[in-house]
Amino acid sequence: MTALLSVDGLSKRFRTRHGTVKAVDGVSFDVARGETVALVGESGCGKTTVALSLLRLIEPDGGVVQFEGAELAGSGGQAWRQRLSIVFQNPYSSLDPRMRIRDIVGEPLVTAYGLSGKALSERVARHMSEVGLGPEHMKRFPHEFSGGQRQRIAIARAIALEPQLLILDEPTAALDVSVQAQVLNLLQDLQKRLGLSYLFISHNLATVESVADKVLIMYLGRVVEAGPVSEVFARPRHPYTQALLDSVPSIDPSHRGRLKPVTGELPSTLNPPPGCAFAPRCARATSECRASPPPLVAIGDGRAHACLHPLE
């Protein structure tokens, strides 16, 4: 069966005054229908550049992006918007403060289908009820809503054109802790009802574990490990994945001594190490690791890693 979204060798470089940054360097993955794939990594690893490239909000330099086995014509535009959409991290900056909710959610419908009047109102009301908001909210402005409600509005707008895939870029990171569960549960519920696929971008491993089927771990523009979440988190093969897992503070007091942070910091994206980008922080690194970046190799059971000396 062909995947809903298939990404092969996606690359994006940015030229800056100080040199060229390889923000995304040959990233490949598939997303099946109804599946949640998480893209995990720290700042500068390229996860947001992947998202923006898929949306054609930036033009990638290389790589092939296919929907259901076919490349979409053109770059961006309606064909794309009707396939995939995005929910951004911060609903305080992603909603226009001067627009009413009806117009925020309805705007894609006006642009794509030229809907107006009653047809538009009914459609907007439908999408708002899908995210748990009533029609009485339509005439209000974003500032009248709490963070959790704003994120619901952003989700209603994102699903207005009935896309097959939603990109969720840290959708709960800006929300209060007690409200995050509401939004995560809503997303799970929508996925079941509408058969959506999600590309879930996050740096929070605990959140990823609770929502995702598959996970891609990125480090400095490359995927270093991929596979089913339960497998990868239980038995990480790449030392960076292990380092991330060891860095998650635990709520369990018996785990208090177990925080084992990896030393060192993320290298500069302007001047990355020549070999494996993680080698300078890696206890297992050898001269081979520093020579050239190891390729991502499949190891069966849907798992893959890019490491010459993987963990057992």
């Binding site: 007690s178 929502v211 925080l259 993320l266």
Partner: protein, 332 residues
């Protein structure tokens, strides 16, 4: 009995306005012993940062502070600003969420460290520079000499936060207040800073008040916790008590609402509603509109905090578990 460094009693902070008055802190009691790492946990608007600012005497106008804050035996509330100014850095030092904003971009890190240390400890600049180097070493900055010469934009966020911790440490405060110091950092760097603070507390007997919204962070760092909701402390106790047997429904539900690594793919417990607006907090227990255990009594009377014999205190009419104080019959 351990010596207490910080004693806060019935602290309130209000911001009067023309149309509405914001009650940021509504009667907080906390005490922190020497050498203890105390976590103050709450969501945005719970009053945790305002509590911290009050300890430093830094509540911005038109904020009004009442109650008592005794820091190393001295009263902060009502003291003249000139007196509180001399206490800052020395009695209590603070590190902030965003180290990039806490330092001046126009001066080197060294200049800013030396200025602060010389001023607070009343020592000359060469002694202050030695203290700065020593502190940078203690916070494990790779090359302290080089770090002193750099401008804030030339180093990473993790290194900047270490420099801020060094600045605070070199002033030899009785209490270090850390306000979400790891929130802006990457996961692996956050873990480094947590381990650093934990080691400093152990090795130097540093007393820390650690403010955060992240339950995982306090779980791996703090000895004791106070959970704040809508300007009040709803539960207080050791980390083991609160995480092992939370007594307040807010604490208990928050623990189930936050994804935790190792739980697998599970549906999260939802806490309905949102954090209250502090210009108009709900009457009675502020959590009652969101609480599954709420009864009419909860909307009428504000529960007072009651502690059991082990020091686990909860402010709830219907606490979870019988070991905690029984529901107050009619305190209205």
């Amino acid at each position: 009995m351990a010596e207490s460094i910080l004693d806060i009693a019935d602290l309130t902070v209000t911001f009067p306005g023309l149309e509405r008055t914001v009650q940021a802190v509504r009667g907080v009691d906390i005490s922190v012993d020497r050498g203890e790492v105390m976590g103050l946990v709450g969501e945005s608007g719970s009053g945790k940062s305002m509590t911290a600012l009050a300890i430093l005497g830094l509540v911005p106008p038109p904020g009004r502070v009442s109650g008592s804050i005794r820091l190393a035996g001295e009263e902060i509330v009502g003291a003249p600003e000139a007196v509180n100014e001399r206490r800052r850095g020395k009695k209590a030092a603070m590190i902030f969420q965003n180290p990039g904003k806490a330092l001046n971009p126009f001066f080197t890190i060294g200049r800013q460290l030396v200025d602060a240390i010389a001023n607070v400890r009343r020592i000359d600049r060469s002694a202050a520079e030695r203290a700065a180097l020593e502190a940078l070493n203690a916070v494990r900055v790779a090359d302290p000499k080089l770090a002193l010469q750099k401008y804030p934009h030339q180093v990473s966020g993790g290194q900047l936060q270490r420099a801020m911790i060094a600045m605070a440490l070199a002033c030899e405060p009785e209490l270090l207040i850390a306000d979400e110091p790891t929130t802006a950092l990457d996961v692996t760097i956050q873990a480094q800073v947590i381990v650093l603070l934990r080691d400093l507390a152990r090795e130097r007997g540093l007393t820390v008040l650690f403010i955060t919204h992240d339950l995982g962070v306090v779980g791996s760092l703090c000895d004791r916790l106070a959970v704040m909701y809508a300007g009040r402390i709803v539960e207080q106790g050791t980390t083991d008590q609160l995480f092992g047997a939370p007594a307040h429904p807010y604490t208990a539900n928050l623990l189930k609402a936050v994804p935790m690594l190792g739980r697998g793919r599970v549906a999260l417990t939802q806490i309905p509603g949102t954090v209250p607006n502090m210009s108009n907090p709900p009457p009675g227990c502020a959590f009652h509109p969101r609480c599954p255990a709420a009864t009419p009594m909860c909307a009428e009377s504000m529960p007072t905090s009651k502690a059991d014999s082990k020091g686990h205190a909860v402010a709830c009419h219907h606490p979870i578990g019988a070991s905690i104080a029984r529901p107050a019959e009619a305190s209205a």
